[in-house]
C-alpha cells in the first residue's frame, strides 16, 4: 500500500527505455519515502518480463497478460490501472510522456480525480505548507516542469489527491541498474476481473512501427541546427560535419517546424534530452525550450551570427559567424589535422 508505481510500456516484448528510466527514478523516490517500488506491465506474451525490470530495484511486478492487451489501446489499459490503483492506493504513479503515456495518464487521472503533471523534467520529494488553510504536508512529490513555452519553470504539487501522477519524456531521467540479483515478487493480474467487454470497442486495423533509426539520444557528438541555419541546403552542411567527426544531427523545434529536419531529431523540451560529450549548436538562439534538452552536454560550441545569443551562456566556445562560412572551415581543418 502507498507505494511508488511505474507503468511499463512494451514494444515487441521489450520494456521501453523510458520505463526503465522511470523505474530508476521510482527506486530513488521509494528510497526517500521508505516505501516499495512496484511495476505494472500490461500486454501479451510477457513470460519472463519481470527479469527485465527487477534489476532496476522493483519490489513487485504486476503482470496483465492477454492477447487483447497488445497492441495498446486506451480503454482496457485504463480499466486495469484504475482498478489496481483503487485497490493498491499508490502514493505516486509514473509513466512515460509518450504517445501511450500521454493517452493513458490523463484518462486514469480523470477517472480517479487525481492530479497529473505532464512532461516533468525533475521529480523530488519535499514538504509543503498551505498558509491559507494552515495545513502542513509532508513528503509530497514535487513535479517540476517548464511551462508556458518554457519561459518559466513551475513546481506542481497534488496536496490532497492520490496517486500523484506524472509523465516524463524518454531520455530525461537516467537509467541505472540497482543489481542483477535484485529480487521482487511477481503478481499476475486476473485480466477478466479488471476489464469490461466494451473496453475493446477500438480495434487496431493496421500498424507500422519502426525502430527509431536516428539515435541522437546516445550520440557522443551532436551537431544541432536551429532556425538560424536558414535553409535545408545549409542543413546539409551540418550533416556533412556530423559525418566527418562521427556525430549525429539534431535540431531545435523551430528548425523542425521550418522543415529543415525531421521530428525524430528534435532536441529540447518537446523533443529528446541529450547529454553528449560535444554539442555543436549552429544557428540556435538558445531558448529555454531547447536548452532544457542539451544543457548537460559536457562541451558546447555555439555558432551564431548574433554575438549576444542566449545559447552563448551555455557555451565553452563561441564562434560569431555565418554557418555557411564556419562549417566548411571546420570540416577542412578537421580533415587536415587528422591526416
Amino acid at each position: 500500500m502507498n507505494n511508488v508505481f511505474v507503468y511499463c510500456e512494451i514494444e515487441e516484448g521489450q520494456v521501453a527505455d523510458v520505463s526503465l528510466e522511470l523505474l530508476t527514478k521510482g527506486r530513488k523516490l521509494a528510497d526517500d519515502l521508505k516505501c516499495e517500488l512496484e511495476a505494472i506491465v500490461i500486454g501479451h506474451e510477457l513470460k519472463g518480463v519481470e527479469k527485465q525490470v527487477m534489476p532496476f530495484g522493483v519490489d513487485k511486478v504486476w503482470i496483465a497478460d492477454d492477447k487483447r492487451l497488445y497492441p495498446y489501446t486506451t480503454l482496457p489499459h485504463t480499466s486495469i490501472l484504475v482498478k489496481l490503483f483503487d485497490e493498491e492506493k499508490p502514493q505516486i504513479a509514473l509513466m512515460g510522456a509518450t504517445s501511450i503515456g500521454r493517452d493513458l495518464g490523463p484518462r486514469v487521472s480523470s477517472a480517479l480525480h487525481s492530479g497529473l503533471t505532464a512532461d516533468c523534467t525533475s521529480l523530488v520529494i519535499g514538504d509543503h505548507e498551505d498558509k491559507k488553510n494552515k495545513k502542513e504536508y509532508k513528503d509530497l512529490l514535487y513535479q517540476i516542469r517548464p511551462a508556458f513555452g518554457g519561459n518559466i519553470v513551475a513546481t506542481i504539487i497534488n496536496p490532497d489527491c492520490r496517486p500523484q501522477m506524472a509523465t516524463v519524456r524518454e531520455g530525461v531521467m537516467k537509467k541505472e541498474i540497482v543489481s542483477d540479483a535484485y529480487k521482487g515478487k511477481v503478481k499476475n493480474i486476473d485480466v477478466e476481473k479488471y476489464v469490461k467487454p466494451e473496453d475493446f470497442v477500438i480495434k487496431v486495423i493496421e500498424r507500422h512501427m519502426e525502430k527509431s533509426k536516428v539515435n541522437i539520444k546516445n550520440a557522443g557528438i551532436i551537431v544541432a541546427g536551429g532556425y538560424g541555419v536558414g535553409s535545408k541546403e545549409n542543413f546539409n552542411l551540418l550533416t556533412e560535419l556530423a559525418e566527418v567527426i562521427g556525430g549525429e544531427v539534431g535540431a531545435s523545434r523551430a528548425a523542425v517546424d521550418a522543415g529543415f529536419a525531421s521530428h525524430e531529431r528534435q532536441i529540447g523540451q518537446t523533443g529528446v534530452t541529450v547529454r553528449p560529450k560535444l554539442y555543436i549548436a549552429c544557428g540556435i538562439s538558445g531558448q529555454i525550450q531547447h536548452t532544457a534538452g542539451m544543457e548537460e552536454s559536457a562541451m558546447v560550441i555555439a555558432i551564431n551570427t548574433d554575438k549576444n545569443a542566449p545559447i552563448n551562456a551555455f557555451a565553452d566556445y563561441v564562434i560569431t559567424g555565418d554557418i555557411a562560412e564556419v562549417l566548411p572551415k571546420m570540416i577542412k581543418q578537421y580533415k587536415e589535422n587528422t591526416k
Partner: protein, 291 residues
C-alpha cells in the same frame, strides 16, 4: 442522408512565442490579459478535420465550444469564418484557476447539455500548457472511447469511425464506434483559410458579454439576424458540482514558479577564420573530444 453532429473543442491561448515579464500573476496562474491571444494551433487542425467531414457528409453540423473570458469569442468567430456552423462560449468566474481536470469537468458538463453528439474533436494539446490532457480527460468524464494523435479521420459512416494516428515511432489505423472523442496532431492537414463570404456574414457575430456597450442599432441588427448571436453559457446553464470547478476542483496546485535565468559561464570566443578553426580542431582532437 442524415449528417453528423460534431463539436470542436478550441482554446484561445496566449501566444507563448511572445511572452513578456508580466505574464504570470503572483498566485502562479497565467495573466492572460498581458498577452496576445491566438487560436490554439492544433485546434485549427482539429477544426479542419471537422470541416472535411462536413464536406463529405451532407447535413453535418460543426459547433465550436470554447471556455474562457468574453474575448475568447474571437475563437468562435474565427471558426465561423472558416466554415463552422455555430459556437458556444463557456464563460464564468467559477471556472477561474481550473487545471486540466477541472477544465475537463466543466467541458464535459457542457457537452452533456448539448444533446446528442457523434464526434468531439479537439487539438492534441494547447501551446500554453503542452499537456495533451484535456481531450482524454473529457472522454473519460463522458464515458466515451478516445482516439488521440489523429492525423486523418478517414471515415465516419454507419456508426464507425476510422482514424489514422501518427505516433512517435510509426502510424496506426484504428476503428471505433461513435460517439467518441478524437484529438488531432499538428501533423494533420492545416486548416483552410477564412472564406470571404463567411467573413462578411459573421463579422458582427458577438457573444452576450461583448454586447454590453452596444448601441440600439447594433442590438437591433442582432435581433434581426439571430445567427450573429454567439451562444454564451455560464455555470448556471450546465449541471455541475461546485466542488469540482475552478481552483477548488483542481487537484494540482502550483507551488512555485521560477523565471528562467541563464547561468553564464566563461566561454572562449573564436573568429570564423581558418586559423581559429584550426586551433579549435587541434584542441578537440588533443583532448579526445573528437577523432
Amino acid at each position: 442522408m442524415k449528417g453528423l453532429k460534431i463539436v470542436v473543442l478550441a482554446k484561445q491561448v496566449p501566444d507563448t512565442r511572445n511572452v513578456g515579464k508580466d505574464a504570470m500573476k503572483a498566485d502562479g496562474t497565467v495573466n492572460r490579459a498581458a498577452l496576445p491571444a491566438i487560436f490554439n494551433p492544433e485546434d485549427l487542425n482539429a477544426l479542419e478535420q471537422a470541416l472535411r467531414l462536413k464536406d463529405k457528409y451532407e447535413g453535418t453540423e460543426v459547433t465550436l465550444l470554447t471556455m474562457g473570458p468574453g474575448r475568447a469569442a474571437e475563437v468562435i468567430r474565427e471558426g465561423l469564418y472558416r466554415g463552422a456552423d455555430n459556437g458556444i462560449l463557456l464563460s464564468d468566474r467559477a471556472f477561474a484557476g481550473s487545471d486540466t481536470l477541472a477544465t475537463s469537468y466543466a467541458l464535459s458538463c457542457t457537452l452533456k447539455k448539448m444533446g446528442k453528439i457523434d464526434i468531439i474533436i479537439a487539438g492534441r494539446q494547447a501551446i500554453d500548457g503542452d499537456t495533451a490532457q484535456v481531450g482524454p480527460q473529457v472522454a473519460e468524464k463522458l464515458g466515451l472511447p478516445q482516439i488521440t494523435y489523429a492525423e486523418d479521420i478517414v471515415s465516419a459512416e454507419k456508426g464507425n469511425v476510422v482514424v489514422k494516428r501518427r505516433l512517435e515511432r510509426g502510424v496506426e489505423t484504428v476503428e471505433g464506434k461513435m460517439p467518441m472523442v478524437v484529438t488531432v496532431n499538428a501533423s494533420a492537414p492545416e486548416c483552410r483559410p477564412r472564406n470571404a463570404k463567411f467573413v462578411m456574414k459573421y463579422k458582427h457575430a458577438r457573444a452576450v458579454s461583448e454586447m454590453q456597450n452596444a448601441d440600439e442599432d447594433y442590438i437591433a441588427l442582432h435581433n434581426n439576424r439571430p445567427y450573429l448571436n454567439i451562444g454564451e453559457w455560464s455555470v448556471n446553464d450546465i449541471d455541475t458540482n461546485a466542488e469540482e470547478l475552478g481552483l477548488t476542483g483542481s487537484p494540482t496546485k502550483v507551488k512555485s514558479i521560477e523565471n528562467v535565468v541563464f547561468q553564464a559561464k566563461e566561454a572562449k570566443v573564436l573568429e570564423p577564420t581558418e586559423e581559429d578553426m584550426g586551433e579549435l580542431m587541434k584542441e578537440l582532437i588533443a583532448n579526445h573530444t573528437i577523432g
